[in-house]
């Protein structure tokens, strides 16, 4: 009797554990584990927590896979402050980056006034063990955006025009903007703007769009490729003093993983990307609700990169 009950119990427990690992011969953790143990043949592609960056990561991953490189995806990793940590500790090997912001992350004083200057600065400050490849013509800049109504009310065309109104306005942006060199402190330093308050939202995504559209914030940080800007008729304020600098898309990669094949493949992808193309691709993900991986695959095929 006792042994039988024990046997039944054990069977039930095994079932329960089996349920935990159901339906797969593969290790369920494999696709999400960072693994410093990863062999040099496998590249873990990361991305930041906003759709455009995920799309770029999918483009890189898809192109590499097409060239027979083994790829693992680890997307949607918080902000730069976090994913650079993941790059450093080997959790990821490759991530799409932006020349100016990345350069200024490592050196707040870096000259990022033009594409060439930003790239030169970046190459100077990239830490040991990491390297950047060729930048794409496509740029995605931070920008200060207001609604059409606000722009008309205060006749705003450039960020500087906010000077006499900022003290009555609420600025919205990603939480990290509160401290970033080109965020709230940058607006104050370069344009002398002091907003009534800063409202931490999301990474210039849906929440920010909603908050600006709805009037919870009066001005907001959105990325210049955000298709919602056109969709909602928002006005992007000019940045004549170049606070946001040049922000070309560029792959940041672990040096050991940047083999000739990898370098060529990623540079080939970047070469095809201009700002308009990128914006259209992002719109497919954000406005048409297509999957980033599907949009990426379709694009790569159309450019014979896959």
């Amino acid at each position: 009797m006792r042994t039988r009950r024990l046997a039944v119990t054990l069977t039930a427990l095994v079932t329960l554990i089996g349920l935990s690992a159901c339906g797969g011969s593969s290790d369920p953790m494999a696709d999400s584990s960072g693994g410093g143990s990863a062999d040099s043949g496998n590249i873990i592609v990361g991305s930041a927590n906003f759709p455009e960056n995920q799309l770029l990561a999918e483009l890189y991953a898809g192109a590499l896979e097409a060239k027979g490189v083994s790829v693992t995806k680890q997307l949607n990793i918080s902000s730069r402050e976090t994913y650079l940590g993941a790059l450093k500790d080997g959790s990821i090997d490759l991530i799409p980056e932006y020349t100016g912001n990345l350069a200024r992350y490592y050196d707040p004083e870096a000259d990022v006034s033009s594409t060439e200057a930003a790239l030169a600065s970046l190459k100077r400050v990239v830490p040991d063990g990491l390297t950047v490849l060729e930048p794409a013509p496509a740029e995605d800049k931070d920008s200060v955006v207001v609604t059409q109504a606000t722009a008309e009310k205060y006749s705003l065309t450039s960020i500087g025009d906010l000077a006499s109104h900022a003290s009555q306005m609420i600025l919205g942006g990603p939480p990290e903007w509160k401290q970033r060199i080109d965020g709230v402190p940058g607006l104050k330093r370069v344009y002398g703007l002091e907003f009534a308050s800063f409202k931490p939202l999301d990474a210039a995504g849906a929440l920010t769009v909603q908050a600006l559209d709805n009037g919870q914030v009066d001005a907001a940080n959105l990325f210049s490729t955000n298709p919602e800007i056109a969709a909602k008729g928002f006005v992007v304020l000019d940045d004549p003093k170049g606070l946001f600098g040049s922000q070309n898309i560029i792959p940041l990669i672990n040096k050991d993983k940047a083999t000739a094949t990898v370098t060529e493949t990623l540079n080939a992808v970047d070469a095809t990307l201009d700002t308009k193309t990128l914006t259209d691709l992002v719109a497919k993900v954000v406005i048409d609700n297509q999957d980033a991986d599907a949009v990426a695959a379709e694009y790569l095929s159309s450019k014979s990169l896959k």
Binding site: E81, T82, P200, L207, Q210, A211, Q216
Partner: protein, 241 residues
């Protein structure tokens, strides 16, 4: 540990509209608002179920279902659907409070109806025998008898809300969660751990306040049970019935 200490010992971190004091106060405000709404829904419903015995199976199952709702997903849905229809800062506050209420209702409801259930049937019969009406039995016998468990329910709801309200910072809400989300965004471990510590301290204080109120407010005739049975009561309020 040093990072936390450095962050906590910086006086400027305490003051201002985004300081520790203001954030703690906001956090407490969200909790109180949530509990008020949740209690207004859950206590009458729980009393009704306990008193009449009706709808019990439906409610018990619904409560269990609510417990397994992932707060983060619910929050995002609420913000996307409710946000555009609400003006001003309420656009983020209302969905957040709604989600926290969903979290707080199950323990209060479960506490209330199990509290009524546990009223000695003899006491109920005696009250009826004395000619008390159904309402008089409810408010004179069942409600006072259920109070200890209602309080346990409120207490566990309050603690859950205090810990979970932090997540609402992802949708621009204030409170102590800001230190976690803002700290994460700039990888400031001191701020994150400090924020977590503050949430823990707030929960501790709250737990203490609840046990004090519980001791003072419950009818002396009912507060007699020894420690072990009280512990059982607490756990009945939190376990799935």
């Amino acid at each position: 540990m040093n990072l936390v200490w450095t962050w906590l010992s910086e006086p400027s971190h305490y003051l201002g509209s985004d300081g520790i004091l203001a954030r703690s106060w906001q956090h407490l405000g969200y909790m109180v608002l949530t509990l008020l709404i949740a209690a207004t829904v859950a206590i009458p419903l729980g009393l009704w179920i306990g008193h009449t015995g009706r709808g019990r199976i439906v409610v018990v199952n619904a409560v269990n279902g609510m417990r397994s709702l992932p707060t983060l997903g619910l929050l995002f849905i609420a913000v996307l659907l409710m946000g555009p229809r609400i003006p001003g800062d309420l656009a983020f506050l209302a969905p957040s409070i709604f989600v926290l209420v969903v979290l707080a209702v199950p323990p209060i409801l479960a506490g209330t109806y199990s509290g009524v259930d546990e009223v000695d049937p003899a006491a109920r019969d005696a009250a009826r025998g004395m000619g008390m009406t159904s309402w008089q039995v409810l408010f004179g016998v069942e409600l006072p008898g259920a109070l200890p468990l209602i309080f346990s329910g409120l207490r566990s709801a309050a603690l859950q809300v205090v810990a979970t309200a932090t997540i609402a910072a992802t949708v621009s809400i204030g409170g102590l969660g800001r230190f976690l989300i803002d700290g994460l965004a700039v990888r400031d471990y001191g701020q994150m751990a400090g924020g977590a510590l503050l949430v823990g301290v707030l929960a501790l204080l709250l737990d203490g306040a609840f046990s004090l109120v519980q001791r003072l407010s419950v009818s002396p005739g009912l507060s007699a049970p020894e420690a072990s049975s009280r512990n059982n009561q607490d756990s009945t309020a939190t376990i799935t019935t």
